[in-house]
């Protein structure tokens, strides 16, 4: 049996206990990062570039499920037309919330409905999005999702996001 001095033994015990204590926090953080959460958002966007145009951009307010809450979106995109009344938008977007931001890219197909007098009577949107990063509390958020929505005039658009996200921090309780 190896003999260690009293002081040496104490140092070993302190060292090992600290290592164990530090290591115990790691699985919890890893579990939070791996856990996939379903997050939905309802957005009302306003076009800042009148269509039809080769590019598009929007500002809008967002109301998302926990822990995100309310915020705003800013996006810009390239417009690719596949016909006179249909096409797709592809580009980056960023959602700003109280505790940070998430950013990513989207790809939306649109179909414009016209009246007999060639007036826009509505637009239908359907697409996908990818969350590639974030800031502050949402810096580890990643994921994918779907987009669906309509617009009565191609200026104001109501969209619904359904996302599957990882790295979402738990809801913080108490005063912010």
């Amino acid at each position: 049996m190896m003999h260690l001095g009293c002081g040496t033994r104490a140092a070993v015990i302190v060292g090992l206990s600290i290592v164990v204590a530090v290591g115990a926090g790691a699985p919890a953080a890893a579990a939070t990062a791996r856990k996939t959460r379903n997050v939905s958002c309802a957005l009302t966007l306003f076009a800042t570039i009148e269509q039809p145009a080769p590019t598009a951009a929007n500002f809008g307010s967002a109301r998302c499920s926990r822990p995100f809450g309310t915020g705003v979106q800013r996006d810009s995109s390239k417009t690719t037309r596949t016909s006179l009344t249909a096409g797709r938008f592809t580009g980056p977007f960023k959602l700003f919330f109280d505790r940070g931001t998430i950013r990513g890219t989207f790809r939306i197909r649109f179909v414009t409905m016209l009246s007999a007098a060639y007036q826009i009577t509505g637009v239908i949107y359907q697409g996908t999005l990818k969350i590639t990063g974030g800031t502050a509390a949402y810096r580890r958020v990643r994921g994918t999702g779907t987009i669906a929505g309509t617009s009565p005039d191609a200026v104001r658009t109501d969209l619904a996001y359904r996302m599957k996200l990882t790295g979402v921090p738990p809801l913080r309780r108490g005063p912010r």
Binding site: M2, T8, A11, G15, I18, F59, V72, A136, A137
Partner: protein, 198 residues
Amino acid sequence: MHPFRRSLRTVLVASAGVATALGIASLTQTASGQGGSSTATSTTATATTNTSTTGTTTTPKAKPKSAKRTVSCKAKLYATRPPVSTALEFALLSCGRPLGKGVQHNSSTVASNAQRTSGSFTGRTRLFLNEGALRGTYKTTFAVAGGKVTYTGTMKITSGTGAFARVKGSGTITGTSTDGVTGALTEKLALTFPPGSS
């Protein structure tokens, strides 16, 4: 002692020493808070007081003070509809440190004269930034002259979230617009950051 036993003992003692040092370092780091909040410590003063019982001089830790900063923001404004009785606006924000870039969201009621050549916007504002958000109120007067709208007003920041929690302050708004829908504003904010914040 067997040479192997001696080396094993050395390794154990060394690893315990390293682990202890790491533990102490991590605890010290946790106690000192996040690394980015260097500006708050710059305002910290060390006070010297005399104790009445012993007569000796001690130097207790002074309470960290809040930091006051003047931050200027450029806002590229976009009104979602022509402002008649109410206005809903978004703006692309570019602010000085520590706010950075973001998006501003204003909602207000509009009061104007019959000719709609002058009036005011009174409402709420939210500044969404990468590290948090600021909330407040604003009042801006506008005057139309020579095909240009001129804005002058004040803003009050009442609360914040994220990295800007408990930030308060006030400021001024100036700007112009050629069409009443898009505009360029400058916001100069005098903000008070709580101790330990950015």
